[in-house]
Symmetry: C2
Subunit: 261 residues, 2 copies
């Protein structure tokens, strides 16, 4: 590309989160053509939610010389409005994060950060989600910039294919403890949920979601969980085709033309 790339930045922790500030600083070293559209409040756990029965507000905000907007919608709404309403041309890249909390393994499904990246991929725009394995508001993002720049440079130069994006997760350790970058697959892990039951002053019950993370394949070295646990930056390519292609043949038993029923 002749001119500098146009990069859209979003997240799910909200426009004031420290994680997105770090990401913007890295993007500034690559281009001066930046559009930030991020939620006006935390939207963690929103998955691929979109706003279809309510209006969306978009407000220009002051952000140190960068064109930036806060948006009342979900992370996916932010991407949609950035690409279809705010950007005057198709962005060269969408980056989402840095999330306060890991989005490895099954978390990719629940994550607003990764859904924003996936929405970019659905729209045919190269996209990357970045997350740090530390949910605290004062998480230390200082080890992340060189890796973020490296991955962004790679994606700007190499075609991921139109239906894919990248899920990059950082271990929450000091820079000198990071062992490198490892490419892998989504681990087969899940949250074993329990609900904490409490009672309000009227005696009626209410519930808080709690849960324990369980990795069903601790020993598999080709997964994102293994990489993170062993202090590697994890990178997983992600696609939006969720067809279980391996089942198509078996299920043909269910097929029939109506006259044969």
């Amino acid at each position: 590309m002749s001119k500098k790339p146009l990069i859209v930045v979003t997240n799910d922790d909200g426009i004031t989160a420290p994680g997105i500030q770090t990401l913007i600083q890295v993007v500034k070293t690559i281009t001066d053509r930046i559009i930030v559209v991020a939620p006006d409040k935390p939207q963690s756990g929103m998955g691929h939610a979109i706003t279809i029965n309510a209006m969306i507000r978009v407000k220009k905000v002051d952000m140190d010389g960068v064109e930036a907007y806060s948006c009342s919608g979900t992370p996916v709404d932010c991407v949609k409005i950035a690409t279809s309403k705010i950007a005057k041309e198709t962005p060269d890249l969408i980056v989402s994060g840095i999330n306060h909390g890991s989005n490895s393994s099954i978390n990719v499904i629940y994550s607003g950060t990764m859904s924003a990246a996936l929405e970019g991929a659905i729209e045919g725009i190269p996209s990357i989600g970045f997350s740090l394995d530390d949910t605290s508001i004062d998480a230390d993002f200082s080890a992340t910039p060189p890796y973020i720049k490296e991955v962004i440079d790679y994606v700007l130069k190499n075609d991921l294919g139109k239906s894919c994006c990248l899920n990059v997760n950082f271990p929450a350790v000091d820079s000198e403890l990071i062992k490198g970058l490892k490419v892998g697959r989504q681990a087969n892990a899940m949250w074993e949920e329990t609900f904490d039951e409490r009672h309000d002053p009227s005696g009626d019950p209410y519930y808080w979601l709690t849960g324990k993370f369980v990795n069903h394949e601790e020993e598999s070295e080709d997964t994102d969980e293994w990489a993170l646990k062993h202090n590697y930056v994890s990178l997983v390519p992600v696609q939006f085709d969720v067809t279980a292609h391996h089942l198509l043949d078996d299920l043909k038993n269910l097929e029939h033309e109506e006259k044969s029923r």
Copy 2:
């Protein structure tokens, strides 16, 4: 199984929607062990959203002899609370729907109905989402019961594998026009969004999401969109591993140990 199957029923249109009533009537012909947990308000487009920063209310409701609860959470919350808090044993099946509106192709990603089914699969429980290609409140579900029963019977007898669920979509046509059932893959289609910009009485802008559905592969006969368009009931197996396995080798170029940087 010796006793009748325990089936959990949920949806994303809310517990009072006509679609879930049809689904419950079909399930009643299969078993008398039924638990309904559905949102207390419409939750369309919620994707795989979960409620992590708010409490959840669950309220027992009267539903013609069936054990039923309305839940203030998302469709995924409903599944989590049904399996971990309400059911005394692991359900044999989770069914979600019948959605008022198709969840074929890319809609599987945005759909609360399908996210509920996928959540079941994540928990290792056979799960099916059903949707009718008609978003209206008075949609005609009368053609769906024999197919629903057929697919449920199949899933109760055949192992889908622990990480998969089924996405079943009905064309919105009279029973006698349905040509049969076709197994296929998720079509490569998308919504081309536009936002309708309006101004409030103070002159400030707000936006409504609108969009046009575009199928990038109209001619491919092995997709869910083709099946629906040609009056077949469409069935797509769906998985929660979103790793783009075909990209893993290429991306190895990005891998490195830290000492080599």
